[in-house]
Symmetry: C2
Subunit: 209 residues, 2 copies
């Protein structure tokens, strides 16, 4: 029951945002009475904090941290995630945006507790990438790379690309940013590999809302 509430809250917060998600809507969607919800989550803030700490953090872990750590290198991991997310968005035909960024924009200034919880997820995300770069460096790669700065750009590029993709309802910005990151990587590594063909721009069909 508690998990059913978290399920619908997670989905509603991502699609409608925190303030636009009313407790009544969540109760109806989860099939839960007021008393039950109030028992597990005394306030709406408590519910949102649980969503952030239990669901958003897990989503970042699943879609970013684990794949990057499992990849052959930080750069390969980043490319894999960008491509996987872009492909998923194009397949489902709708861009809901990044859960972490959506809530970060709406709640960071609303309450310090929200901000701290969200900031720690950002920090873990960045640190996972930076740590992977440091691992790569032990094999002689990425010698000229500052791990923290590299991680900051990777996270920022993804977050910003998702923001554009959500607004345009088009996964194009993700593919553009990945291509530009890789082109620069190629040049920096002096590989001189020919740039990829110009991708076709996929216009997504509008989704549910």
């Amino acid at each position: 029951m508690r998990n059913r509430v978290l399920d619908v809250a997670e989905a509603s917060f991502q699609e409608r945002g925190y303030h636009a998600s009313s407790i009544g809507d969540l109760m109806a969607a989860a099939g839960v009475t007021g008393g039950a919800l109030h028992h597990h989550f005394p306030t709406k803030k408590a519910l949102a904090l649980a969503v952030i700490e239990e669901r958003v953090a897990a989503a970042v872990e699943e879609t970013w941290i684990a794949p990057v750590q499992a990849a052959g290198s930080a750069r390969e991991g980043i490319r894999a995630v960008f491509e996987a997310v872009a492909a998923e968005l194009e397949q489902q035909g709708f861009v809901r945006g990044c859960q972490l960024n959506n809530l970060a924009h709406e709640l960071s200034l609303a309450d310090p507790d929200f901000r701290f919880a969200l900031a720690s997820i950002f920090a873990a995300w960045r640190e996972a990438i930076a740590g992977k770069v440091r691992t790569d460096q032990q094999t002689g790669e990425e010698q000229g790379t500052d791990p923290d700065r590299f991680a900051a750009l990777a996270v920022a590029a993804y977050s910003g690309a998702m923001s554009m993709a959500k607004t345009a309802q088009d996964a194009g910005p993700l593919r553009d940013c990945l291509a530009e990151l890789e082109r620069r990587t190629d040049s920096a590594a002096s590989l001189g590999r020919a740039g990829a063909k110009r991708r076709r721009r996929v216009l997504l069909r509008p989704g549910k809302p």
Copy 2:
């Protein structure tokens, strides 16, 4: 009077967001009665649309488009904007975030009218940078650069860095991303210029909220 309403709405939307800004609060802050506000803006949506089209678009024009077009090159313009914004944030000691991104996250999925208005601002922003790159290319520079992809990455990196800066209340991500973008630029251009010294991390004092 109409402008006074737009002033407080613009500020409140950026600091608290759309849904958390009540008409009553805006009326009190602007010193405007309900009748006056309803005369100029029949609905809250109409008010937000006016803020987006008249104020947010102007803010992007002022802080990004004009400086980039006035700069010696696209890369110089981008660096100037990143540094100017980072310096401003550190000086005022508080990160309110990017107006466009804040509203884009909260409103893109809420209403198609909002989404279209926000998407056109993103498009103008990207096109201004891409256009500057094309101008640079006429002088022989940036031959290997795809203007649209380059612009996408610049906008995404800024948007994402601002998102992190807002959540961390620290301008560091902006400086990190700029440094990483420039390092890659240096390598790509084979200039071999020594990387900038590691910047000091400025922890901003908490602001008003």
